[in-house]
Amino acid sequence: MPLAKFARITLFTALTVFVVTPLALLVLTSVARGWFHPALLPASLDASAWTDLLTDASHRLALRNSLVLGSATAIVATALALPLGRSAAYSTRAIRRTVALLAFTALALPPVALGTGLQLTVLSLGIGGTLGGVFLAHLVPALGYLTLLFLGVFTRWDHRLDEVAATLGASRAERWQRVLLPLLRRPIAESLALGFLVSWAQVALTLLVGGGAVRTLPLDVLAMLQAGQDQRAAAGALALAIPALLVIGAARVGARNTAAVVA
């Protein structure tokens, strides 16, 4: 964009301050006990929130649940959304719109509506309060997001690449394997990361469909927050961010070959 070097550096500085300050506050809060107004910095450091978090077996269980749910949601939602987004993008306008609207609805339904409906479904399937039930619930918004993502990817996709491969005799599977997947590495990596995040940060659906019996890290953080345990909540929030950061990093590395543009 037409920006002078000075403007770019200013913008960069503003961005850094905007992004980093809240994160830095989280870090400080997580190691500060009794850090009150008007102290600009904590008087002393205290690692108890972290040691509690890391040593407590129940947090570890929550962490494991979150990881399992996040990975499963990411993989399954991507595997479903990719072909769905693609066939919708190549379908008639009416089908495309229907799919897009369905996907939007999956995001738009307030947890009270979606969650209660899902709760009912999951319960009548006999998997209420289980990881499986919560996984099914997380799948819905994740599928919504990722379907939109791939719908977008494929409406701008040069489908002549498919055409060439097809007329050269590549079967459907071979087209996926040899043309689509290699070229889609970046969107797929992004989709995996995004699917993971949708599940990873989910609170309301987990609560409703898990019936409270399925503990995840965000639920723990919510509980701490509602008890005014800011120090622990901050540590928990960071603990939530770190694995997700790793996932995003991994996605970026996975996408490197096809994404020369992006750092």
Binding site: E163, A165, T167, L168, A170, T258
Partner: protein
């Protein structure tokens, strides 16, 4: 035996409306049908329809006796070369060309050898290790063509494979196409704007025009006697001379400002004569009977010379004459048309 490719009453759709209607064509294995047509008339759409990349408005596509109208593209045994070359951006040139062999499960060493051979035939062998994004326009065309030829299909649809090539390379590519047609017995459909391509490669040619399409005919026949004025214009070799046909039957003659030409069988009335440059004799100075013409303008084209001439009365005409003619502006000449094709004005 049935033809390798048969089109029965095929209708081609442009967007939502039917563009080209009722195409009926057979192409035998080892034959090549060239399709000539104005820009935008629907040549690419026809090929895409045959390849199964867009739905037919009606009719059937039959390959080696099997109706494939409802089959997906990869099950038709038809390879389509896009007008604008589409290469897989993530594969090297060699891998692009080897692609059709690899999807057929050929061992990779053999497919690489075959692919390299095609690259060499099209003179792009030194690009084998490059990525497509670094190729020039003509190189991309050739790599895409090499890939299509490498697929060695029953039916090969080529959409202007020779555009963007210089004459020297073009000659070699034509040769490669000849080889492909005769040695591998593919039935070919070749879209081109250049009659030279058709003459070099094709066994038949058909013209596609907004007003309709012609039956396939021999390329030389089309060149010698195009069925309509529009199809004559597609060839780019005719000068159009205006005049009038007087008399009829075998005594009919075409009268233009340079004189009269026997025009047996032509319709009486205003007419346009399509004349090639070697069918015109020019006499410098007035030596034969007939009107004298002043040369107003001389334009040397590659193969002939275009003269604009005026009769004393003031009418002008444009004629194409042989490249050896030296008449220059201001000269007085006589122009004798030896032969022509006569059409009613469009």
């Amino acid at each position: 035996m049935s033809a390798a490719l048969e089109l029965h009453a095929l209708d081609v759709v442009f967007g939502t409306r039917t563009g080209v209607r009722d195409i009926n064509v057979d192409v035998q294995a080892g034959d090549c049908l060239a399709v000539l047509g104005a820009s935008g008339v629907g040549k690419s759409s026809l090929l895409r329809t045959i390849a199964g990349l867009q739905a037919a408005g009606g009719g059937r596509v039959v390959v080696n006796g099997t109706n494939v109208t409802m089959e997906p593209p990869e099950r038709r045994g038809i390879v389509y070369l896009h007008q604008e070359p589409v290469l897989f951006p993530h594969l090297t040139v060699l891998d692009n060309v080897a692609f059709p062999l690899q999807v057929r499960g050929a061992p990779s060493s053999r497919s690489a050898t075959t692919a390299a051979a095609w690259l060499e035939r099209l003179q792009v062998d030194e690009l084998a290790g490059r990525m497509p994004s670094s190729l020039s326009g003509g190189q991309r065309h050739r790599v895409a063509l090499a890939r299509a030829l490498c697929a060695d299909p029953a039916v090969l649809l080529l959409d202007e494979p020779l555009a963007s090539l210089d004459p020297a390379v073009r000659r070699d590519v034509r040769m490669a196409l000849q080889v492909a047609r005769t040695t591998s017995h593919a039935a070919m459909l070749l879209v081109t704007h250049d009659l030279d391509d058709a003459l070099a490669i094709a066994t038949h040619v058909m013209t596609l025009l907004p007003t309709g399409h012609s039956e396939p005919m021999a390329p030389q026949a089309l060149l010698r006697s195009p069925p309509t004025l529009e199809s004559a214009r597609l060839l780019g070799v005719y000068a159009e001379v205006e005049g009038v046909v007087l008399g009829d039957g075998s005594s009919a003659a075409f009268h233009w400002l340079g004189g009269a030409v026997p025009a047996a069988g032509a319709q009486p009335g205003p007419a346009i004569a399509c004349v090639r440059s070697h069918e015109v004799h020019v006499h410098c100075g007035a030596r034969i009977h007939g009107p004298e013409l002043i040369v107003l303008d001389r334009h040397e084209a590659t193969h002939d010379v275009v003269l604009t001439v005026r009769r004393a009365g003031g009418e002008t005409a444009v004629v194409r004459v042989g490249a050896g003619v030296t008449a220059a502006p201001g000269d007085v000449i006589q122009v004798c048309i030896l032969h022509g094709r006569f059409f009613a004005p469009g």
